[in-house]
Structures are given as structure tokens and as C-alpha cells.
């Protein structure tokens, strides 16, 4: 009886206070559940991507087995070996990284260690502009303006190194405006903003005391960078480079327009080629049955590669950022 009267009279605060979780109004708990569901959506989507695309491409994986890494891609003969596209993705990504990484790290160092703050902002704006140019606009410019222009340079270099060992194999003829190398250059433009901004974040976490210490010992700026900044941020910069690699691998439309659309495995960088996203984009329209399964399967491989790279990169970047703040 006494418990009933206690509950009925809210004005009399008697007995032990009920735990917070019981007192929370319904609206408050509903809001928490909605927020949690929105957060979980990220995990749900990632799992759904993996499951649904694998399901749609399972016939490619089961019928070809290890043949998915075969050399021949001939839809007319029902042969779907993806090696040429994997090769093309690797080559274009490496070309893009070789060009973008030194430039991006250079700009990041320029922003953090050289220019005063009021100059840094406009430079960041310019880099942001680069990120805002859509992929398809890079592709349009690449195929109609850049590729025809650089074609002459390729053919000059090609005829100069013809017959020279190694150089001839890499840069010799056949040359073509749309090629592995052109795609690599365009990809380099596109991944520079992300590598720059992540490197900058990492470099900004280098403790001021380390840098001041280096200067106090009489180091030049260059020596301070190699002695104080680099040891502290090399892990984070590695992560930034890996994220750039992930972008370069998955970038589709620009590559589809400028890579030359020729499924071949060759050491000639100035020759037309193909990569994974480009072949999916260009051939999906006409694909049915096994052909479509193979193209979606390429997407599954691409998803797997980029997820692995991103997980490693984020783990590295996250760890080095924690070290910086600790």
C-alpha cells in the first residue's frame, strides 16, 4: 500500500530515486534510437554492397574460378579474364602516385612550414578548387584538349628512345594520345587535393617543441623538416598516400575517357590501355548474362581492393593523429 501512495504523490520525493534510464521520456529514447539507426546505416550499406554485388556476379566467380585472373577478355567468346584491367589499374595508379605524392607533400610542407597563415588560406582555396572540378570535366578536357596536345610529346619521346633498352620498352612506340600515361597524369591531378590536405593535417600535429628544438640547434628549415617533421609524420603521410591510391584505383569517368580503351598488357606506358573502372563504365550498357556478371565482379574486386587499402590507411592515419594529440 505504501508504495502506491509514494508513486501517486509526485510532490513528496520519498524513497530512493529511480535510475535515470527509467525516468527518460519516450521522445528522448526515440531520438537516441533514430540517431543510432542512422549511424548503423553506414555498416548496413557496406555489408549490403558486398552481399548484393557478390550475389549478382557469383556466376563469374564460380564458372571462371581462378580464371578471373586470366589474360583474355573476349565477351564474344564468353572469355572473361580480368588481368589486363587489373594490370591497367595498377599501372595508372602507380603513375598517378609517382607524380602526385612529391607535389602533394611539397605543397603540404609549403603550407605548414613556409608561408605565413594569411598566405596559406588562398593556397588552400586553390587546392580545394582542384577538388571541385568534376571527374567528367577532367575527362572531357583530357580527351579533347590534353590528349591531342601531349600526343606530339609522346611521339617525340617515343622516336628518341626507340631501341634503347628499358627506356624503349617503357616509352617507345606505339604511342597514342589516350594512354596509360595520360590517364595516370589526369588521375594525379585528381588525387593531389586529398593527399595534400591529409598530409597537411598530419604535419600540423608535429609538436612545436620538436621543431623549435631543431631550429635551436641551428638547423636550417630543410634540416628541421628532415629531422623533426619527417620522423613524426612519415606514418601519417604513408596513410595519406594509400588513401590517394584508393582514389586513383576507383576513379572512373576521367580514366574511361582518356585511357584509350584497349585491353592489353604491355610495358609501353604511352600505349592505349584499360583499367577496371573504365571497362565497367564503357561496356556495361551492352552487357547481359555472364558478361554483366563479369563486369559486376570487376566491381566486387575493386570494392575489395579499395576497402582493404582504406582500412589500412585509416588505421595508420588515425593512429598517427592520436600520437600527435597525446
Amino acid at each position: 500500500m505504501s508504495t502506491v501512495t509514494q508513486q501517486a504523490g509526485p510532490a513528496v520525493p520519498a524513497g530512493p530515486a529511480r535510475p535515470l534510464s527509467e525516468r527518460r521520456p519516450l521522445g528522448d529514447r526515440t531520438f537516441q534510437i533514430i540517431a543510432l539507426a542512422s549511424g548503423l546505416l553506414v555498416l548496413v550499406i557496406l555489408v549490403l554492397i558486398a552481399v548484393s554485388t557478390t550475389q549478382q556476379s557469383s556466376s563469374w566467380f564460380t564458372t571462371e574460378g581462378w580464371g578471373i585472373f586470366g589474360k583474355t577478355w573476349n565477351p564474344a567468346a564468353n572469355q572473361f579474364g580480368a588481368l589486363a584491367f587489373i594490370y591497367g589499374t595498377a599501372i595508372t595508379s602507380v603513375i598517378a602516385l609517382v607524380m602526385a605524392v612529391p607535389v602533394s607533400v611539397g605543397i603540404a610542407l609549403l603550407l605548414t612550414e613556409v608561408v605565413p597563415y594569411r598566405w596559406a588560406r588562398p593556397i588552400v582555396y586553390v587546392i580545394d578548387l582542384l577538388a571541385v572540378v568534376p571527374s567528367v570535366v577532367w575527362g572531357l578536357w583530357g580527351i579533347l584538349v590534353f590528349a591531342p596536345w601531349i600526343q606530339h610529346i609522346y611521339s617525340d619521346i617515343g622516336s628518341a628512345v626507340k631501341g634503347v633498352p628499358v627506356l624503349g620498352a617503357l616509352f617507345g612506340p606505339p604511342t597514342s594520345g589516350p594512354s596509360f600515361f595520360t590517364a595516370g597524369i589526369i588521375l594525379a591531378f585528381m588525387i593531389t587535393p586529398i593527399i595534400t590536405s591529409l598530409s597537411r593535417e598530419v604535419i600540423a600535429t608535429v609538436p612545436a617543441i620538436d621543431k623549435e628544438g631543431a631550429y635551436a640547434l641551428g638547423a636550417t628549415r630543410m634540416e628541421m623538416i628532415t629531422g623533426a617533421v619527417w620522423p613524426h609524420s612519415k606514418g601519417g603521410i604513408t596513410g595519406a598516400v594509400l588513401l590517394g591510391l584508393g582514389r586513383a584505383m576507383g576513379e572512373t569517368i576521367a580514366a574511361a575517357l582518356v585511357i584509350g580503351s584497349s585491353a592489353q598488357i604491355t610495358s609501353h606506358l604511352f600505349a592505349p590501355g584499360y583499367n577496371m573502372p573504365a571497362v565497367i563504365a564503357n561496356q556495361f550498357g551492352e552487357a547481359t548474362g555472364e558478361f554483366r556478371a563479369a563486369l559486376i565482379g570487376l566491381g566486387v574486386l575493386l570494392f575489395a581492393f579499395t576497402i582493404i587499402i582504406n582500412v589500412i590507411a585509416r588505421a595508420i592515419v588515425g593512429r598517427s593523429a592520436e600520437q600527435g594529440t597525446a
Binding site: V103, G106, V133, V145, G218, T220, T252, L302, V311
Partner: protein
């Protein structure tokens, strides 16, 4: 105390000489050079798009139907694509922005340092790296195969791309809201939901909106996810929920490999339109950041 009479050496504050100085200067020059290397293609691209697009673009170009590719550049326009881009991007934003903000609220206000919140935060970072073409194939597999091509399928694909970007940018902004604001409202007896909605969100709204606008700008320029979801047609289709549709980036992609100068001209006009949309969104975002941001890094 006896004064020290040794010759005053003091610190040598002059720049070091010889090879050390040269090395330092070369490094500085290389850093400046890398920025110049980035400006060149940017200026080159923007100049080409503006020079080739400005003579094409007009109100009539933005609203006229899409002609066959053989038509000369001064004929027709990209009206259906403009309509499609506005509809598809708007629907994508209506889905991704609220969900992204709610997700970030979970990460920052509820999850804290818990395992689940860290897992979601980590994988939303990872999700920003999923190639946009994979999102297109994903929506093709779970939506288009069952319900057919539609603008809505494209909007879903763009929403999947935007979601992690919005979560990340909102999360950053919520982290900047000082804790005493929250504690003050709890002390007044407010529930957590009320504190979040009436105190935390308004305090961070400037940054949240500008982050959302940048995500929209990114999504509006995406082509790859649309290829397999809206299927690029030339006829206008105001019904987003059924039937194939078109968008500005898809039209540029279709026209870029066309041998006809008229089609190429329309592609440049469309490219200028697309870049203008992205720049306007970016400038508005900057303005909001400058004007309405209360807490920044």
C-alpha cells in the same frame, strides 16, 4: 662578481653558408614549384571550359530539349539534364543530409568513446573511399534489377556517396561545440534530445550546413553512379520515380567521345554549367562558414 671578459661569441643568427644553405633554398624552391605545378593544369582546365563554354551557354541552352548529336552547337540545349540533375541531387540531399547529421549526433553525443561508435566512425571514413562506380553497381543490383531504371535509383546512389561525407563533416563540427553549453542545459533539467536539438545543433549549424553543401557539390558532379541507375536518355522525364532519366554529367560523358563538333560544343557548355553549380555551392558554403560559424579550429 668579475665580469666575463671573453670575446662575445653569442649565437650566430646568420643563415648558414655553403651547401647547407643551398640545400635549404633548393627545398624551398621545390615546394613553391610543386604549388605552381598544380596551378598550371587547374588554370588550363578552367580557361578551356570557360572559353569554349561561355559562347554556348545561355538561358535557352539551359532549358531547351537535347537535340541529336549531329545538330550544330547553337541548336538545342541540355534542359532535361538540368532538370534531372536538380531533381536527383535534391532528393539525394534530402535523404543523406538528415541521416548523416543524425549519424554524427549518435557518434558524438551518444556513442562517445564506445566500441560501436568508434566502429561506425572508422567505417564511415572507410566508406568515403568506396569508388563511386561501386555505388552505381550496388544500386543496380539491389534496386534497378527489381524496379527498373529511374532518377530515384540515381538519387539513392548519390545519397550513399554523400552519407559518410556528411557524417564526417558534421561530426567535426559537433566536436567543436564546448561542453559547458551542454552541461548548462542539463543543469536546467533538459533531456539529452532537447539539449542536442536546441543547444548543440544551433551552435554548430554554420559548419554543418557548409559541410552539407560541399557534399552536394561533390555529388552533383558525379557521373559513374548514374550510369547504371538512370541510364542517360535524351528525352525529358520529370517523373523521378520511374523511367530512365538524364543528368548534366551523364550528357557530358555521352557527348565527350562524339565526333560531331556540335555535340562537343554542348558538352563544353554543360561542363561550364556543372562547374558553375559546384563553384556557387562552394562559395555559399564559404560564406556560411565565415558568417555563421561560432566555433572553429
Amino acid at each position: 662578481m668579475a665580469a666575463i671578459t671573453e670575446p662575445q661569441l653569442g649565437p650566430n643568427l646568420q643563415e648558414p653558408t655553403g651547401w647547407r644553405r643551398s640545400k635549404n633554398r633548393i627545398a624551398t624552391v621545390l615546394m613553391v614549384l610543386s604549388f605552381v605545378l598544380v596551378i598550371i593544369p587547374l588554370v588550363f582546365v578552367l580557361y578551356t571550359v570557360i572559353a569554349k563554354g561561355i559562347s554556348i551557354i545561355s538561358w535557352q541552352f539551359l532549358t531547351s530539349p537535347i537535340p541529336p548529336q549531329v545538330a550544330p552547337a547553337d541548336e538545342g540545349g541540355i534542359g532535361p539534364a538540368v532538370l534531372g540533375t536538380i531533381e536527383i541531387t535534391a532528393i539525394a540531399a534530402l535523404m543523406a543530409v538528415p541521416l548523416g547529421i543524425l549519424g554524427a549526433i549518435y557518434l558524438n553525443e551518444y556513442g562517445g568513446k564506445g566500441v560501436l561508435a568508434r566502429l561506425i566512425g572508422f567505417f564511415s571514413d572507410v566508406m568515403t573511399g568506396v569508388p563511386s562506380i561501386v555505388m552505381g553497381l550496388f544500386l543496380f543490383s539491389i534496386w534497378v534489377l527489381h524496379f527498373g531504371f529511374s532518377g530515384f535509383a540515381g538519387a539513392l546512389a548519390l545519397a550513399c556517396l554523400m552519407l559518410p561525407i556528411v557524417i564526417r563533416s558534421t561530426d567535426e563540427m559537433l566536436k567543436l561545440v564546448p561542453n559547458p553549453l551542454r552541461e548548462g542545459s542539463y543543469a536546467l533539467g533538459a533531456t539529452k534530445a532537447r539539449v542536442t536539438i536546441t543547444v548543440v545543433l544551433p551552435a554548430a549549424i554554420g559548419g554543418i550546413v557548409s559541410g552539407a553543401l560541399l557534399a552536394i557539390a561533390r555529388a552533383a558532379g558525379e557521373t559513374a553512379p548514374l550510369l547504371f541507375t538512370i541510364l542517360t536518355v535524351t528525352a525529358a522525364n520529370p517523373n523521378v520515380f520511374s523511367g530512365a532519366n538524364t543528368a548534366i554529367p551523364s550528357q557530358i560523358f555521352a557527348n565527350a567521345t562524339s565526333p560531331y563538333p556540335g555535340a562537343q560544343g554542348r558538352a563544353w557548355g554543360a561542363a561550364l554549367t556543372l562547374i558553375a553549380i559546384a563553384f556557387v555551392l562552394m562559395i555559399v558554403a564559404r560564406f556560411i562558414t565565415a558568417r555563421f560559424t561560432r566555433y572553429s579550429r
